[in-house]
Symmetry: D2
């Protein structure tokens, strides 16, 4: 178990999580997939040997249980990817406050819960107890190194607030702020935090109806995105990136 890298992918829905699961499995990692509903993951689990865990990532207890299960079953994760999000659209005066709140919880707050749990798992034990270590932290400051990558999936809305899409802008901006803060805090502890701006539509299956009108390679291939995540995970720590944006060659920006 100690020899295998462990990857945790949270928020399974579109093609990206599946592509990540396949690539991680191919690279020899043990994979855990977390989603609210794990029913539809049966095929992917069979294909990749991944473990599926039911988890509402906006609930602290669920996220805690997810990481405890992973630790017990697979070991310490070295790659955690947060993919969950919930989009609510509409003119600002029409939006339902309860839905806006849910969107912010799923897109932003859940990212915090997963990022925090990942950091706790990756930091050395004296720093991950969930409380200040006091004097002992000071004494061992020099050797307090963690290990691993924590990646957050953003969207065009992470860097540009579109009209009639305030809730998604709020959630995705919040997630980017979280990722940037965590990158600054954890990089010097040897934990690589990065944010991906996916600027364009991700192809959903081989017969995505949007495909033809976008033209050849006009939608992001999930496998191509996953490749860039893995490249980022493999970066040497003397030359880390905290953010990268990915878009189809024909996409306006």
């Amino acid at each position: 178990m100690a020899d295998r890298e462990v990857a945790v992918i949270v928020g399974v829905g579109g093609g990206l999580s599946a592509a990540l699961a396949r690539l991680c499995a191919k690279e020899g990692m043990a994979v855990a997939l977390a989603a609210r509903n794990t029913d539809k993951l049966a095929g992917l689990v069979r294909e990749t040997g991944a473990m599926a865990v039911a988890c509402d990532a906006s609930q602290p207890g669920d996220v805690e249980r997810l990481f405890a299960t992973v630790a017990d079953t697979l070991g310490t994760p070295s790659l955690v990817v947060f993919n969950a999000s919930r989009r609510v659209r509409g003119p600002i005066h029409d939006l339902d406050p309860g839905e806006v709140r849910e969107s912010l919880m799923t897109t932003g707050y859940a990212g915090f819960l997963v990022g925090q749990a990942a950091a706790r798992a990756m930091l050395p034990s004296e720093q991950s107890a969930g409380q200040s270590a006091g004097q002992s932290a000071g004494q061992s400051a020099g050797k307090a190194m963690g290990q691993g990558s924590i990646f957050f999936t953003g969207a065009s809305a992470s860097v540009k607030g579109y009209p009639q899409s305030a809730p998604f802008a709020m959630g995705k901006f919040a997630l980017r702020g979280l990722a940037q803060s965590m990158a600054r805090e954890l990089a010097p502890k040897n934990i690589h935090v990065a944010h991906f701006v996916i600027d364009g539509g991700i192809r959903q299956g081989g017969d995505d109806p949007r495909g033809p009108q976008r033209g050849v390679d006009g939608l992001l291939e999930p496998d191509a995105i996953a490749r860039s995540y893995l490249d980022m995970h493999r970066q040497h720590r003397s030359a880390w990136s905290w953010e990268i944006e990915l878009r189809p060659w024909i996409e306006s920006f």
Copy 2:
């Protein structure tokens, strides 16, 4: 009543809201001040003739009541400023999820509630009913103009996620995403939405203990900030700004 501009200032605490209240009153506006606790506003109310309204801006019902009261008592607001925020600090692994959630609610979600209520008040009535207007909206699209300014107060953390400050980064990034989305959506409806990046400490009273070490004008003067808010409110709509940052001359950036 119809001749007087109406200003609503939400989140009263530091010196900025008081300076805004004074400047708006001096400019002849009727002013409403909204805060969780209005006890400490007595002096300011006496000085400016403002109306104080108790309001927890992260509660939809409170915000609704606030704007109903303003409409009934003072009239339609032409300037709404959202100043509320709640900062939580600490290493990512130490943060209490409940407090992070509260921070996000007060700093980000409350901004949405206030921004939405302001938009509803400023848009023409057929667009502000809180539901899609259907066919009639299409018919009157050409003349559907609103009026007024909605301003959000940000911080250095709005554009830079600092270490050990993930919750504040999340809330302030979210607020900026909201402001940018609303600016794009509402500008063509004649409503000026802007975001202010306050990059530095605001002087709290004449004897702020930080003053001497910062040197002359080393902390932002609340009156100077308020002046820039008013300049922005007075901008001609052929040359609007959606964002401006303000910092002391000696501040590093």
Copy 3:
């Protein structure tokens, strides 16, 4: 002479420089207008009492003479605005290298020459001799204060490189880098450097043919822009901005 503020406006062509000249004159400033060709300035000179100076701002000698003339005739400038630029467009493979070079010289390098001359005029004499002041600078470091504002006019192209417009992007990005570096360097010396992103078309005269299709206030009014320049010049130094963008309310961004 000592009681009057002095404004220097470099690069006179569109409506912005004329509007600035009028507003500065109205505010009681003495105004100098610098342009390659001063013939067409006769009307504006008559109207504002401004001094017109022939100057190719991309030539070090010309810029030196301009500021010497201003110093001798009007006194030390407290506001210098650089408006010059030259746009070259075309597919990257088609561009003429000589024209690209000229564009970079007029849009970027000329900005440096004017910014440097302005800084020399505004810094205290021991710092503005054009060479390191050595020991004496160290001795008087505490009191070495300058005074004034140096403003640079940018465009949408200052922050976004458009296709088929590489030369203009190069020049305008360079000018923004200059402005940002100077802002960081000179703000602590009491000199306010700022950059304006003009995002949209500026109305050229009362019968600008683009006006009708853009709709009411769809082009930036030169007077409205000038107003924001003056507001920035009047900002209290405890709350300075280094950049602001201005665009018509109906402009997409």
Copy 4:
């Protein structure tokens, strides 16, 4: 010859160009190295089998000859990397205008010359003749595809103008504007233009004197940077990045 990829690396000095040359050679590419002075390249040429070409990249004629030589000797380049730059530092009032001009020419204008020559080489012949193709371009618009990657090396100064470093900010901002414009223009023609923000010191040789004080992996390893350039070159076009920043894990940002 047709089977081998061809890489052109312009501006050889620090460790990055050598690392790129080694990695490209290892990947089976034919490599051309362009520098003002090729004397010091003997060792690298021997090691990698690269061709060394003397070239002052700020001279149109030199750049034209470089690309003609590469075309004749190695074939059409599929990867062109521009690394040249010239840094001039000092207080704004002290800078020598002639040196500022040279810095802008070497850091910015040379990037244009190399980028243009690369685009001409990579675009289909009817578009690369150095003049508008007129009607025929319209007729063949559908099939006018190019191929290859054009990469520009930036620095921290590309996105932040530091005090006392105006000339470098101008040159590096200009280069980024060029890269962004070219990325938007050429991506839809199947040419991948990207900009790299190197944020930190690059290790110069095994005994870089700065190494010990920066700590383990505290300076960017040239091989690690080169790896990210190659990853970017290999990105699938459905998920291209136009910019990435690289910094050591312990670097503040």
